[in-house]
Symmetry: C2
Amino acid sequence: MESVKDLLVEIKEKSELIVDLAYSALIFDSEDMAKEVESLEREMDDLVYKIRIKTMLAANNIEEAEQLSGILQVADAAKNIANAATDIVYLLDVDITMRPFLPSIFSKADEKLHVVMVSDRSSIVNRTIGDLNIEAETGVRVIAIKRGKRWIYDPDGDVRIKAGDVLIIRGTEDGYQFMERVARGEESWD
Amino acid sequence: MESVKDLLVEIKEKSELIVDLAYSALIFDSEDMAKEVESLEREMDDLVYKIRIKTMLAANNIEEAEQLSGILQVADAAKNIANAATDIVYLLDVDITMRPFLPSIFSKADEKLHVVMVSDRSSIVNRTIGDLNIEAETGVRVIAIKRGKRWIYDPDGDVRIKAGDVLIIRGTEDGYQFMERVARGEESWD
């Protein structure tokens, strides 16, 4: 059962992340983010396939099969959430005439989503997200980092912040204002 | 266009909230929360119907219709997200044998979701969420309040906290620890 649990937790977390990222892709009009959403959806398909196999192998009798069917129902729902989120980013594959208002509609609505650029003068350069303990210290969560042409989504604690990083953060207005000053090197982290 | 915008923002926000609530209903094994998810899904259906009518009336030529079609695509995707989220809570309508592991699997995984009971000795009793500025001050967000048999979801700033309220909060561990002490009356808010 252990790995069925791990798979289900991963499926749940990816289904939440993909909704966040899909709207973010639209708000930032970012084809790179859209590609990551599509790649997350493929990972979800793999995970759901794996959990189906594992649950079938785990069920030895009708009672166990009934218990495990609930897990499959959640997994399928999470997969459908991911599919629907991906429909949002397909808009970015088509002509821009279909989405002229969308970034401005949503960016005004979602006041908790911000973009912060890390200057080489910032005191957070070369420190890890976990070491800084950003979420606990500031109330904002780093949902993605754009580094050159590459994106790092839902970064782990061991990811080290570099000069030039673009951080996509979600959180309180105060937390954002602080992160903005720190990232510009106008205020020290400590 | 103004009301199409407002409708779309409401649709986006409800689609994010419903995913959060659906998993929460499972974690807390709460039929009340499940009923609210189902009611949110019906509200989504109404909103999507309204936005279809509004966009059709707003389009005067093929160019405008193309621009508006992107809005319908996002609204449909949000509706599908809500439908999928509702599939998760249908598990709560059926026999408990289908979901014996689920609350424990997810509650261990989602360390950011907590339940806090407000004692009549707490200094936050009779103060509003907006006045306390809970999210900015503590880094935790109140996602729902259970008051007697009633649930208040995604409470606005003018909601006043009462003795006996059960707060469902999401946020940092430090923020949760603080809220827990304050709710028990062991520490003063100010």
